[in-house]
Symmetry: C2
Subunit: 340 residues, 2 copies
């Protein structure tokens, strides 16, 4: 049996481009004792993958040249040599950019069944978005770093994305004023009308500090108490400048700098004068919180209280273009690749 | 009765200079009901005062033009219309840059007696340093933001100063490797030999990133887990670049930027990739912690376990020059002005 996969062909020195990826056909490995073979239905594309393409100090080792690109996947067990799994089980796993994957199911958390939730209420793809890593990322950042009080103002960048959309809906449910930032009128409109944010700023209309700050002043007239930051750069500088005393910043991503751009916080003085807390975090280092988060997110999606949107690319070969588009904000909602 | 005082004559647009201060002789106010008249023995000079000379958003209102410069003081009650005080009481108060001050003793915390500690063991001036606001600042930042574990490496800038010297000694007592930064061989020598730090880097010998980073690599071969930051700018950038995962930065001061210099954190990416926590704080907003801190610091000074050094300027008229010297690092240890 053979399957297709995409490996890292070369490291980008600036923007990621198609030539940094290579589509290959390889023999599917045998299923050894304790392992399962998963047929991947959906591959998740996420901004963090861009950092894994770079060499250098980070929280995770870079993907090696010639190695399969990392990525979260959902799919179906098609062969099992592990007593806990049978063919037909729907699972979430870090399968990477490939159609089939063999994984050691005896490693805790490596292969997770999602059958516990009613199959009808939560579509399989949602386990890569609102009821998966992105949703849990929002949940952890909001409840364990920002810890908002009702009435406070929370700002989130990349508001229509997989993480930001959940973040805003959770904060809104906790009684906060929620302001999003997104690129383009269509996304902003969706964020306010469909997701229920109080306001959403189209950052593309505000390319400089003064203009963006004025827009934020209008959207957040009481200042900003919590910031869930996915972007960095100018957006973070502006939000910091509008933070109230004792504000909290959950630093989740810095997509503005993934291609190697300088990522300064220009007004560091405000961290002191406003007594701010700024904390970087990685959701995979908070595994103890996942069960509670997934339970709440699963109920929210099943009941329709948590809404989400997906951009779905068709077929593995479409993954590089879809990923490059994600980094440029061309996607609208959770970016997936449908393999089956 | 008359006394001398120093008021803010003009706001600096860059460095503070003598012309921004004015020495005046004024009539000492009457002592109204509930008030006490304090004869000031020592005035404390601290970097935060530079920020209070600027207009603009900060944690405390700026000193108004023509108003007495703010400042912590210790002295002796010479007249009292408050039942809790009698002439001869030794007190700590925010008396400002003046020889005499009338204060409303009914305001909680406005006038604090220090007679509880054995007079012989803790000199009055220490209540402005190791057993006062600077000491408590170190204590709060270390125990409530950095929260070091034994064996971790803690770095502190302005290491020979009133705050840094206490910080390092407390961290050392908790089993940490402690690395200081100070300006000049004399201060570095004092920090290591007298205060017991493991190493101290003379930042003046390392004016660029590469050189300072190499010095830090040598002094902190296991990387940095906690940083108590008094300076900012290049020093903070270098320390951040050497921080281990889950490092904590207590942001106490940014003396590198008090004259209006740009204060960027140039490598904000590290906050995310190393999952750092950076928190600004003001010691006066943690009043609940003061009693425990003062008790430990008082015992430490009385027993000789906490050492400190003072630079004492003579007479109120010497305060502006001493303050300007402090901002340039010309002092060596806690900067005081002796008024009596």
């Amino acid at each position: 049996m053979k399957h297709q996969r995409i490996v890292l062909a070369a490291r980008p020195t600036a923007e990621a481009a198609p030539e940094h990826f290579r589509l290959e056909t390889v023999a599917t490995p045998d299923v050894q004792d304790g392992h399962v073979l998963v047929k991947v239905h959906y591959l998740s594309l996420d901004p963090y993958m861009r950092m894994r393409m770079n060499d250098g100090k980070s929280y995770a080792a870079p993907v090696a040249i010639g190695e399969v690109m990392v990525g979260g996947t959902v799919g179906e067990v098609v062969a099992s040599e592990h007593e806990g799994f049978v063919p037909g089980d729907r699972v979430v796993c870090m399968g990477g950019w490939q159609e089939m994957v063999v994984l050691d199911a005896s490693v805790p958390g490596a292969v997770r069944k999602v059958d516990a939730a009613p199959a009808s209420a939560v579509p399989l793809s949602a386990y890569l978005g609102a009821v998966g890593m992105p949703g849990v990322t929002a949940w952890v950042g909001l409840n364990h770093i920002i810890e908002p009080k009702a009435g406070e103002t929370v700002v989130v960048s990349a508001a229509s994305g997989a993480v930001g959309s959940v973040l805003g809906q959770l904060a809104k449910a906790q009684g906060c004023r929620v302001v999003g930032l997104a690129g383009g009128a269509k996304k902003c409109d969706y964020v306010v009308r469909e997701l229920g944010f109080d306001a959403c700023i189209d950052y593309r209309q505000h390319p400089d500090f003064k203009s963006l700050a004025a827009a934020l002043d209008e959207a957040a007239p009481q200042g900003v108490d919590g910031n869930f930051e996915n972007v960095g750069g100018l957006i973070l500088d502006v939000v910091l400048s509008r933070m109230n005393a004792f504000g909290r910043v959950a630093l989740c991503g810095l997509i503005a700098g993934y291609d190697g751009q300088s990522l300064a916080i220009n007004n560091a003085r405000l961290l002191l004068t406003q007594r701010l807390k700024l904390q970087g975090f990685i959701v995979s280092e908070h595994m103890a919180l996942w069960p509670a988060a997934l339970k709440e997110l699963g109920s929210g999606v099943a009941s329709g209280h948590i809404k989400y949107r997906e951009s779905v690319a068709q077929g593995l070969a479409a993954a590089p273009e879809a990923f490059i588009g994600l980094l440029k904000g061309r996607n609208f909602g959770k970016q997936l690749v449908k393999l089956l």
